[in-house]
Each structure stands twice: as C-alpha cells, then as structure tokens.
C-alpha cells in the first residue's frame, strides 16, 4: 500500500474501471440522463459526464457545459449511495397460512462506485449507524455495505446548492473510501492524485499505472479542496440544533407549509433519510403472502398513523418533523447531524424550498438562546 498515493494520467480512469470489473465489481457512477445526473452502472470511463457541470439553484438542477474537459466538475447524482445499500423496495420473506417464513436472501452484488462525494460518504456512514449499530443489526444492509467498493472524488467545483463546508462533511473526503481521487486539471497535465483508504484500496492502487505522488502533488490536491470550500455559497446557520428545539410551535412552519407540496421529493433524494415501511402483498387466492420493505417518507399522511388517525395531519407539522429530525433530533438519536450538506433537497424541491434559508429565517425570527 503506497501511503503517499499515486499520480495517474487522466486516461488512467479507464484502467481503474477495467481493474474493478476484473475484480468482479459492477461499476457505478453518475451518468447524464435528461440533463441531470443519475447514479447508474457504467461500462467505461467514456460514460462519465466529462465536461459537464450542474447549474443548480433552489428548485432547479440542470447539466450544462463546464467549459473544460475535466471528468468531475459536476458533483452529485440525484440519488445518494442509499439505494445501493437500502434499496427502494425489497422482498423480505414469503409465508403461507402456516406462518413459517421463507426468507429472501439479500441481493448483494459487489458494486464499485466511482465518484462518491465526501458528503455522500458521510451519509453512508450515517446510514450504517442506523442499520448496523441500533438495537438490532440489519444483516441485509451489512451484506450490501460490505459488497461496496468506494472510489471517492474530492470536489473541485461545488454546485450552488452545496453547503458541506458548514456541515463539516466536505469538500474533501476524510474517511470512508477505498480510494480517493483528486482531479488535477492543469494546462500542462491533466491527471489524478489517487490515495488509498483501505487495504482493498491499497491493493488496487498498487495495480494502477502511475507515479508515486510527491509532497507537492498532495499540496496541489489540497489546494483544489481549499478552492472548492472557498467557492461554496450556501451555509447552514450555526447552532441550528438548539434553534429548532426552541421553535416547535413557531408560526414560520405554517409559512413553509404554504409552499410545501408534501411531495416527499426531499426525502427521496436525501442520502440519509432512512425511514421505511413494510407492507404485505398476497397472492390472489390469499394462500401466500409476501412481506416487502420499501422507502417511506415522513411527508405522507399515513406515516404518523396511530389507531384513530394520523398524528401529523398538517403539512406544517410534517415539514417540521423532517427538518427538526434531520438537523436537531438526529443529534439526540445518533449523536450527529442527519444532514450532510449535499443540497439535493434544495435543488430537487419542485417549489424551491431551501433548508438553509428556512433555518436562517427561524434564526432571524427567534431570539438567541439565553446564556445559561
């Protein structure tokens, strides 16, 4: 394992894809689809959205030409890594009237992701904490997580919706990857600094053609991350946790609800939203039933159903549930924020509700916390 990393040529990406495929991995990356980015399997580095960048703002995400032929000027596909470890739906088991369950083993094809972003790596760790470190371990999740090989890419050009700096989750990956790439796009040379973050990553790095990285190379890579951090326009207000816990019954929730469609888009694109439900599908003759697990959203009315009706009937209370869970109660439940600052919920909201702006609006409306 070469701790210092390697410098590979831009064309070396193709070798990386080939090496991963040779090791049995299905290789996934962000691909352009209908002027947006979607996380999908790729055949070759040619499938990467080279030279493309997101023009993102609240309520809008569109790929445009970045003006140069860098591979990773774009940032995030609409999906996080969530669907690779916790699929949108899966069959758990089937049983007949004898109620002896026949479990469906989890499909855990080895998958490698090229271009996993620092925020998404933190999000994956956040999900792992929910599904593996709780009262019971989700073996399905673990099997899929262990089958993942992650090639991180440190972000060079944040989208306008990004705010990972203020959440301390990027733009440079600190952990959680097998390999990390920093794209060095310079007039005289276009290549990548490749660093290993695991034994498996180290083994692959050995096989990659390139030159050992120098201290100067690593400095150039750090400069890319620093520039990206400096270019970030959005930020989450500080102490948003305390702020939200003082705002349960603030009228601002009603103001958000006037715009919010309760469409659940934000929860579907959020890389940490883990809520799910389980439902039955039975055969026509009723002899056998299948239990299916699928993603759910706190924006649906049924989500909070207890006998007699839903607890959160209004959009205002559902938006409050989502935002306070993400930014405040996650700290109580898991000791960290549930938000990684990826900004997907801002871009993919059909009416452009911006979680950072709503937090700021509450911060402006509420008196500061009293000194203890």
């Amino acid at each position: 394992m070469s701790d210092a990393g390697k410098i590979i040529a831009a064309a070396g990406l193709e070798q990386l894809v080939r090496l991963l495929r040779a090791r049995g991995f299905e290789v996934w990356a962000a691909r352009e689809q209908a002027e947006a980015l979607s996380l999908q399997p790729i055949e070759s580095a040619e499938d990467l959205p080279r030279g493309r960048i997101e023009a993102a703002e609240a309520g809008k995400v569109r790929l445009v030409a970045s003006g140069r032929d860098a591979y990773f000027d774009h940032t995030l596909p609409m999906q996080g890594l969530k669907r690779l470890v916790s699929p949108p739906e899966e069959r758990l088991f089937a049983c007949g009237e004898d109620l002896v369950p026949h479990e469906t083993p989890p499909a855990a094809t080895p998958k490698a992701v090229i271009g996993a972003r620092p925020c998404d790596l933190v999000a994956l760790d956040t999900l792992t904490q929910v599904f593996q470190d709780g009262p019971q371990e989700d073996r399905r999740y673990r099997a899929r997580r262990e089958a993942l090989f992650l090639v991180a890419v440190n972000c060079a050009r944040p989208a306008a919706t990004c705010f990972c700096s203020s959440m301390d989750t990027g733009p440079r990956a600190e952990a959680g990857y097998d390999l990390a790439l920093t794209e060095l796009y310079e007039p005289e040379a276009h290549g990548f600094l490749v660093e290993a973050g695991s034994a498996a990553g180290g083994e692959l790095l050995e096989a990659l053609e390139g030159e050992p990285a120098s201290a100067a190379d690593r400095q150039r890579a750090l400069a890319v991350s620093e520039a990206a951090a400096a270019a970030m326009a959005r930020a989450m207000p500080s102490d948003v946790e305390g702020l939200l816990k003082r705002a349960y019954e603030h009228p601002h929730w009603e103001a958000v609800a006037e715009r919010c469609l309760a469409c659940a888009n934000c929860t579907m694109v959020c890389p940490t939203c883990f809520c799910g439900t389980v439902e039955d599908r039975s055969s026509l003759d009723g002899a056998t039933a299948e239990r299916w697990r699928r993603w759910d959203s706190c924006f649906t009315l049924d989500f909070s159903y207890i006998h007699g009706g839903a607890v959160r009937k209004e959009t205002a209370s559902r938006y409050r549930q989502w935002m306070t869970h993400k930014l405040a109660h996650w700290h109580d439940q898991f000791g960290r924020s549930g938000c990684v600052g990826c900004g997907r919920c801002i871009g993919w909201c059909p009416v452009g509700i911006d979680i950072t702006a709503e937090a700021q609006a509450l911060a402006d409306a509420l008196p500061a916390a009293k000194e203890a």
């Binding site: 929910v130 599904f131 709780g134 809520c275 759910d296 006998h307 607890v311 109580d332």
Partner: protein, 286 residues
C-alpha cells in the same frame, strides 16, 4: 425452531423483520371491542419480556401491529396480549380462534423501571386500555410486594361497562396487598363506585408524595393531566414514568415512524421518565 429462524441462527444473525410463528391457545372477550389472546410459540422458546415491552403481531396478507404485552412476566411460556379492534389487523386478531397461527416479533422497547420503585410506594395510574400494558407491573408488584412500601392502582375508565379486567380488579381490591381505586368518567346504572376523572384520585393517596414512584399509562391527554395532578400533589417529576405511543412499525429503530421529538420510541421508549417528555407532551402534532 422454524426454518428461517434456524437459518438465521446459523448465520449468526437476528430475525430482524421476520416474525416467529405462534399458535393461539386461548381467547377471552374482555369488552365489546377488546379481546385477549394467549399465544404459544411453535418453536417452544418462551418469549421472556419486561413489563412495558411490546411485540409486533403479524397476520399474513393483512399486516402487522404493535401490541403491548399484558401477561405475567414470571410466566412467559404463554404470551398474553390484549387487543382492541380498531383497524384491519386488530380486527382480524380479535377474530382469531384457538388453533390459529399468528406471527410475532419482539419483545421490543424499554419497559417500566421497576427497580426505581423498590422500597417505595408504587403507584400505577392507568386510563382506559392503559391497564393492559400496566397489568404486568401489578402482577410483578404483587409477587414482590415485600420489596415495596405500598402498591396503589388508580384506574379510570370511560363507563362501568368499559372497565378492563373487572374480575381481576375486584380480586386485587379484595387483597390487603394493594390499594385499588377505580373511577369512571360517565356513570350508568348498577355502578356504585366513583365517578370522576382518574387524576382526581391522586390527592387521596395516603402517604407522603416524596415516598412514591408513579407509572402512568393511557391516552396522551390523560397522562398529561395525571402528571400535572401528581406534581400538584407534591411528587417530583423524576419519579414519574409514562408509556408513550407513536406509530411503531419496525420495533428496532430502522423505520423512523415512532419518533416523538428526540425519541425513537421503539428504541428509547415506550416508557420514558416524565422529564424526558415534559417539553414534548402537548406540542401540536409532534
């Protein structure tokens, strides 16, 4: 042990969202819309539980519901669950006959902190069907009566006809071991007992509030008024516990449905100390 459970055990895993098959070995109609089921595990492994814990009951093709355990914790070989028919699954559960099968997951959640009551007066304050999740406390307390300074059951029901476990209540009331007070919100003929809300019984407790520990279970508003009554009587909130209710769906902290503010109730509750909920109870649509 069934196929799936055996396979899982081999893998060193846990059953997660997969239920164990049980058989209905007894049913009892408690009220017009309430039935108690007695269940035996097909694999013979008793479902040991702590008072206050709940299970997920599953009927194939219909669905799954959370139900608190109301049996005797010292006799776990029979799983006893009292169910009110309010939806598709509970209605089907209430219609089950002996010999029928039902899937069970659990037990889940944190139960009542019985050790907190040792050497003290244990007050069980229950309303409506809230007697079902608190009955195991009373059973435990009667079996461990010498470790308590006193046992007081304060129970409120909607009408005399809606009093749950009436025979058992009479038995407990007749015993020296427990002080049982029952009240109904609405009077009807043939009822010579108390009429009024259950929280009004609190000031009549015959001991110093500092010596008591209270365990409260019932509709959320009833618990709110009961906590206020206990505090007004002079009890410290740290000595009061409640069993909270939200949409328990997975029971193991994976699905997010049962959140009540900072608490994942299936994991952190359902039983919580009053100070843990005092800022949350009564918040609009939380």
């Amino acid at each position: 042990m069934n196929d799936a459970a055996a396979a899982l055990a081999e893998q060193g895993g846990d059953p997660g969202l997969v239920p164990r098959p049980f058989e209905v070995v007894g049913t009892r109609r408690e009220l017009d819309d309430v039935v108690t089921l007695e269940l035996a595990p097909l694999d013979g492994q008793a479902l040991t539980f702590l008072p206050g814990q709940f299970t997920m009951l599953y009927l194939p093709g219909i669905g799954e519901i959370p139900i608190s355990i109301s049996g005797d914790p010292a006799r776990p070989e029979r799983l006893v669950q009292t169910i009110r028919s309010v939806g598709a699954v509970s209605e089907a559960c209430c219609a089950l006959q002996p010999g029928a099968r039902i899937g069970v997951r659990g037990p889940y959640g944190r139960g009542w902190p019985l050790e907190a009551a040792l050497g003290r007066h244990l007050i069980v304050l229950a309303g409506g069907l809230g007697l079902a999740p608190t009955r195991p406390i009373v059973t435990w307390a009667l079996e461990n009566r010498s470790k308590l300074a006193g046992l007081h059951l304060l129970y409120g029901a909607r009408t005399p006809d809606a009093v749950l476990y009436p025979t058992q209540l009479l038995g407990w009331a007749g015993a020296e071991a427990a002080n049982v007070m029952v009240t109904v919100d609405r009077h009807s003929d043939q009822w010579s007992g108390r009429v009024g809300v259950v929280s009004d019984l609190v000031p009549e407790l015959p001991f110093d509030p500092a010596l008591g520990t209270a365990m409260v279970c019932g509709p959320e508003v009833m618990m709110r008024f009961s906590l206020q009554a206990l505090e007004g009587w002079g009890m410290a909130p740290a000595q009061m516990y409640v069993s909270m209710e939200r949409n328990m769906k997975c029971g193991i902290g994976w699905c997010g449905h049962c959140q009540l503010g900072p608490h994942l109730l299936c994991r952190d509750g359902p039983v919580l100390a009053a100070p843990q909920v005092s800022d949350l109870i009564g918040v609009w649509e939380l």
